[in-house]
Symmetry: C2
Subunit: 289 residues, 2 copies
């Protein structure tokens, strides 16, 4: 089929019942189901996750749902970019087989009263700034997992704390779902791809890659023998020079537990979140020692 | 088979893998699976729930798991009665087909870090005294539902707030499980059956039925035209005379939302929790108006 025909043939289902009808047919044919949950506003970072899912599964379901439960009242729920038509066109060209795009009423027929917490991993870092976030994420992911019942699901390393929360959730609930981590997609200048990059002014966009530069510098200094405190100070200086304010956190943590560490003697992760103007950006990289 | 043979033939599985092996065979044969989660120390109240499950299903799985996550450090986790051999004998005579009795390591291989919250229903009443309770209950119930994947599950009205939390959880997660409510089993003198009744001294046991007497009086006075405040005062007097101390709550609430109400114009529930000596007892009854 031509890309155009594909564009028009990628089905979008709006209800869990329709979704499960489609899935039942695929399962009966023995297909392994892959799943990529998104909030839409898709960029190449998302599309690489879809490609990764296709490597691990026969059929790939992509959900597009801007989950109200993970936004606090003052956050950007209403402003969050919604571009479903463009998203569907991109997905049709990238190995997706089905879009599940429910509305809030379908996902939360009786209100979004449910929250799921993973002690330890859900705390600190993102939770300090966004206390509602992981309760809402874990609840909607649990719900989507029940709706899709995938064999494999792909989550991006860009949201590293979320990735660990989801892995622990699957383990704690005993779900038979393989979680595959997708590497962070980056622009040529290093900026991590994010739907929120669209909010940046031209000038902010020029400064934004310093977020990646800062965590790269922290990792490099530690590898070169600096203490975590010294390396962190160097990273903070880069962020301040670039105009990030406030800097919510710039931390070196254990790569599995996200516990604070004194020295990088095991695999660690450098994680950052900071605002440039009104836009909050996050990023992280591995620190192998 | 004689009851004795049945006693010895009721299988007990310890792992989720063994459980799912057994269930797969039943499912393949088209059996509808019923489920009754318990913490063991079974009494006739539990056994009536098992009977109810058998009315709604072809095969009945009973879990026996004293869930550490729903006990606070100062509560009676270690002292909670464990009588598995007697439990198995009782279940063999009461329509159960399989016992699932995992240890904490099987249920929480990586620690009990998960908690599930249902906003509104999880708050107040039991949560005021036991803030850990519903997070732990909802997490273990979610986990057990994933392990058993029952078609129908039976919960007792004795734990009324828990029953509503579980119903909302199933609805919010979109699980295809029918929740059946089992009426509270009572001793001849009205005392609600509970594993914790075993803690009562002979003298406390004589006073304990006043818990039921108090909520019955509250319901009756409201039916006779008293205000909720008047009726509640009469109920509190009965509890105080019987030596209950402290009285954690004696409340008339909306039967569905558990919201506080000014007048019983819709189905309501009278709920009570109070201590007699060191033993905390709860009970509740319907108030139809």
């Amino acid at each position: 089929m031509s890309p155009d025909t594909q564009t028009h043939s990628l089905p979008v289902v709006r209800t869990i019942a329709e979704l499960q009808d489609r899935l039942a047919g695929w399962r009966a044919a023995g297909a392994r189901i892959g799943f990529v949950p998104t909030m839409g506003a898709l960029h190449n970072g998302h599309l690489s996750l879809v490609g990764l899912a296709a490597e691990h599964a026969d059929k790939v379901v992509v959900s597009i749902f801007v989950n109200p439960a993970q936004f606090a009242p003052h956050e950007d729920l209403d402003a969050y970019p919604r571009t479903e038509k463009e998203d569907a066109e991109k997905l049709a060209k990238h190995a997706a087989d089905l879009i599940f795009a429910p509305n809030a009423k379908e996902m939360y027929p009786e209100g979004d009263d449910l929250s799921v917490h993973v002690e330890g991993l859900s705390e600190g870092l993102e939770s300090d700034t966004r206390p509602h976030f992981f309760g809402g994420v874990a609840a909607v992911v649990t719900k989507l997992f029940h709706a899709v019942e995938p064999d494999v699901a792909v989550f991006g390393e860009k949201d590293y704390q979320q990735l660990l929360v989801v892995k622990k959730l699957v383990s704690d609930l005993g779900l038979a779902i393989e979680i595959v981590a997708g590497p962070t997609g980056r622009e040529a200048d290093g900026l991590a791809m994010s739907s929120r990059n669209a909010y940046l002014s031209a000038n902010e966009r020029k400064q934004a890659p310093q977020l990646f530069a800062a965590i790269t510098e922290v990792a490099q200094q530690i590898k070169d023998g600096a203490s975590i405190a010294e390396a962190r100070d160097a990273g903070l200086a880069i962020l301040q020079d670039a105009g990030f304010d406030p800097i919510d956190y710039l931390e070196v943590r254990d790569a599995e537990s996200l516990a604070p560490i004194d020295a990088a003697v095991r695999p660690a992760r450098v994680l950052v979140a900071a605002k440039l103007g009104t836009t909050r950006l996050i990023d992280n990289i591995a620190l192998e020692v």
